[in-house]
């Protein structure tokens, strides 16, 4: 039996799990696992060094269980997501080696379980990405869900509560997909993609609606789309550091991958477009677009309210998923490319940001935004990484987030969707406000006395962070490289990408060349620097040497407005935070509780069985006579 490259990759990944499982209690397991991730990445690059263009690579392994054929294969779309997954795994795992591990162990964490959970997550994600039919997709999907549960629950305590909430949502999603698969199977008689493509053409509108709702909500739960987003922030934020960065970067995107595969490729965006909602002007596609926009807005403004850096980023991450979906739903060449590119850009930014936050947490022991501040002189490199990340996330040049968001905005304007565009602008405003809160409260402002001895994060953490920051900048400068991958990926799901140049895209209605943009920007910086330095030498003062109104302020006085940041703004918009979704979730829980009480009542009443029996006899009498 000759192994294909995909088999090699999967075997490599399985071996990583095995190593983490067996040798996980030994020394330096983190390094071992990191090297193995690098190996997996090499195999992936061997598949396609310069972006994936060729035919799908099939796995030699295929099974037939109970009349169902299962197969696995890799195409450009899988490759693109796998690349992000493996790079994220490699860097986060690297981040965890050495100091972080030691501290985690001191705090009573289980390093073995952590690495095992990470390796399992990577392995299951690769299985999901490699799925070659709807059944193997579902198997991969469930495995990813449960592996995620394990990683979230590793920390114990609050984290298990969040993980429990996650798994309840995930199972609801899984069951929704399971139901959809059953209906597809009933209609197509098989779960192979070819058979489904044929069956979809013959489906009635009602059937298609049903399937779009089932699959859409199932995958949407993983992505944290409204109204299923409540689980995500706590679950990601409470995961131990590197795991949180890994999950934040890629985990939810598995939902996007599945949406692309099932809704876009199998059902076809054209078919979805034809599903009209009765008595309104919108159709299923508009519905998805609006869900995407609301997913951008609401969680982003919830992020604004958070006082824990991890929660702020996690809430924020939910909103970013909306941009990707929005871009892909527009399904024109610019929007789709922008949406998919944003997966990569966002992953890099989110991982960098979370790592920076965890680096600060590693040194200071807290991620509470009200208890930090002024760390820029203590941890300058971390500050740099965080700065790069927030510029990227907010979608400003010269970082990569600008490119993907520009493409999405552009496509919205070209398609004539001004309201959606307005929604994204409101979202972006929230993004900028909340990331500013993050960087301000952590690195700017007043240094707290207890943080005076804080040092820069160790190199084991700094190197992966710097690599990520570099990636964010390089993919911003030369977006042509990732865009070739994106274009190849789009082709596999039946969409076309834009014309690509090294610095951006070529389009009749307006091109983008980031090399020029960044050139101009840096020229501006240069002029600024010239003016700054030509103004003569500046005087350096100590960070705690502060005055207000002519009075010297001692370090123990909290004079900054870090506490209750944005209080004025919050006063204005607080009426909008009603927790309606939380209310919805609570009422469903109460309903289950109520039903549960009732059902137990049936079984626990003294005469229950006899009442029931008589009811049954009545039913008999009714049925028969």
């Amino acid at each position: 039996m000759i192994f294909s490259l995909l088999d090699e990759l999967l075997i490599f990944s399985a071996a990583t799990v095995l190593v983490a499982l067996v040798l996980g209690r030994g020394l330096a397991v983190g390094w071992m696992v990191t090297i193995l991730y690098a190996g997996q990445l090499l195999v992936l690059i061997k598949m396609a060094a310069l972006g994936y263009g060729g035919d799908p690579i099939a796995s030699e392994l295929s099974l037939s269980v109970m009349g169902q054929d299962l197969s696995w294969r890799f195409d450009a779309l899988s490759w693109f997501f796998a690349l992000i997954t493996l790079v994220a795994a490699l860097l986060t795992s690297w981040f965890s080696c050495g100091e972080w591990e030691r501290k985690f162990k001191q705090q009573g964490g289980n390093v073995w379980l952590f690495h095992l959970a990470m390796a399992l997550n990577v392995f299951t994600m690769l299985i999901l990405l490699a799925s070659g039919d709807l059944l193997s997709l579902f198997i991969g999907w469930e495995l990813v869900s449960w592996a995620g549960f394990l990683l979230m629950a590793v920390a114990g305590g609050v984290a298990t509560k969040a993980a429990m909430r996650y798994i309840t949502y995930a199972v609801v999603g899984g069951m929704s997909i399971f139901g959809g698969i059953a209906l597809v199977y009933a209609a197509a008689g098989s779960l192979q993609y070819e058979a489904i493509l044929i069956a979809v053409e013959k489906m009635s509108t009602g059937q298609l609606w049903m399937l779009v709702l089932l699959f859409g909500s199932g995958f949407g739960i993983k992505m944290g789309l409204l109204p299923f987003h409540l689980w995500q922030a706590a679950a990601y934020a409470e995961t131990p550091g590197p795991g949180s960065a890994f999950l934040g970067a890629i985990s939810s995107r598995m939902g996007l991958f599945a949406i692309l595969l099932v809704l876009v490729k199998l059902f076809g965006i054209v078919n979805i477009d034809s599903l009209k909602i009765p008595f309104t002007l919108i159709d299923a596609r508009d519905l998805l677009a609006w869900i995407a926009v609301f997913t951008i807005i609401f969680p982003t403004y919830t992020a604004l309210k958070q006082n824990d850096a991890r929660y702020l980023l996690a809430w924020h991450g939910i909103g970013q998923g909306g941009y990707m979906l929005l871009g892909l739903v527009t399904a024109n060449s610019l929007g789709a490319a922008g949406g998919l590119l944003h997966v990569l850009n966002y992953a890099a930014c989110q991982a960098a940001l979370l790592m920076a936050v965890f680096a600060v947490m590693h040194r200071t022991g807290t991620a509470d935004l009200n208890k930090l501040g002024g760390l820029v002189t203590r941890m300058p490199l971390s500050f740099l990484v965080l700065l790069t990340g927030i510029i990227g996330l907010a979608g400003l040049p010269p970082m990569n987030g600008f490119v993907s968001k520009w493409l999405v905005y552009r496509s919205l304007l070209e398609d004539g969707m001004p309201l959606l565009f307005l929604g994204t602008i409101i979202g972006t405003l929230g993004t900028i406000l909340s990331v500013y809160k993050l960087i301000h409260n952590m690195f700017l402002g007043q240094l707290r006395v207890e943080h005076e001895p804080v040092r820069e994060a160790p190199w084991s953490m700094m190197i992966p962070m710097l690599i990520l920051a570099g990636t964010i900048f390089v993919t911003g400068l030369l977006p042509g490289i990732p865009l070739t991958w994106v274009t190849a990926a789009l082709q596999t799901i039946g969409l076309t990408g834009p014309e690509i140049t090294l610095g951006g895209i070529e389009s009749s209605s307006g091109s983008l060349d980031m090399i020029w943009v960044i050139g101009v920007l840096f020229a501006g910086f240069g002029i600024g620097a010239v003016i700054f330095y030509s103004a003569g030498p500046s005087k350096r003062v100590h960070q705690l040497d502060n005055y207000a109104g002519g009075h010297f302020l001692t370090a123990d006085v909290r004079y900054q407005y870090s506490d209750n940041f944005y209080s004025g703004l919050m006063h204005l918009i607080k009426g909008w935070y009603r927790g309606s979704f939380q209310w919805l979730e609570n009422s469903i829980t109460s309903l289950v509780e109520f039903l549960s009480l009732g059902m137990q009542g049936i079984y626990r009443r003294a005469n229950s069985e006899f009442y029931l029996l008589s009811t049954a006899l009545f039913i008999i009498a009714w049925v028969v006579f």
Binding site: L597, G601, R604, R605, A606, N607, F610, L613
Partner: protein
């Protein structure tokens, strides 16, 4: 006799009636021993039904085989079966009564409601959990403190 009503029909109706009386007795009686008695009645009805299912009015008992005129026989199979069923029924009744004796010894009486209450309490106690709902109380939190035992007793009826 009313035309159309044969002895056969009356017997069938009687059998069914016995079963229904038995079931009603089991459902309605509030004393465990009466439940056993009701079960006996229901079983008698079912057995009667079984015998009737193979009975022929123009035939003789299947053991009278030596007669010269060879008349038609009653179907012997249901009769054999009903014997088995009766034996099984008696066995189960005996078991039921013996269990009742034990319950009477342990719990002091055979009132259905009280036995159920005590059983539930015992299961909860052996599992080490607090019982959150009483059998007689409405479900959920009670705004007032529970009534003392004797007043709860005197409320009677189906609460």
């Amino acid at each position: 006799m009313i035309p159309g009503v044969t002895l056969e029909l009356i017997l069938y109706v009687t059998a069914l009636g016995l079963v229904i009386i038995g079931l009603a007795g089991v459902v309605l009686s509030s004393h465990l021993f009466r439940m056993v008695l009701a079960l006996v009645i229901a079983e008698a009805g079912a057995n009667l039904m079984l015998v009737l299912s193979g009975y022929r009015w123009d035939a003789v008992a299947p053991i009278l085989m030596q007669r010269t005129d060879q008349p038609a026989m009653v179907d012997p199979v249901p009769q054999a079966m009903v014997l088995t069923a009766i034996v099984i029924g008696v066995g189960i009744q005996a078991l039921a009564v013996s269990i009742l004796i034990r319950i009477r010894q342990r719990y002091g009486n055979l009132k259905r409601r009280e036995v159920a209450e005590k059983m539930d309490a015992e299961i909860a106690a052996s599992a080490g959990i607090r019982r959150d709902i009483s059998q007689d109380a409405p479900l959920g939190e009670r705004p007032l403190s529970p009534l003392p035992a004797h007043t709860a007793e005197s409320r009677g009826g189906d609460a």
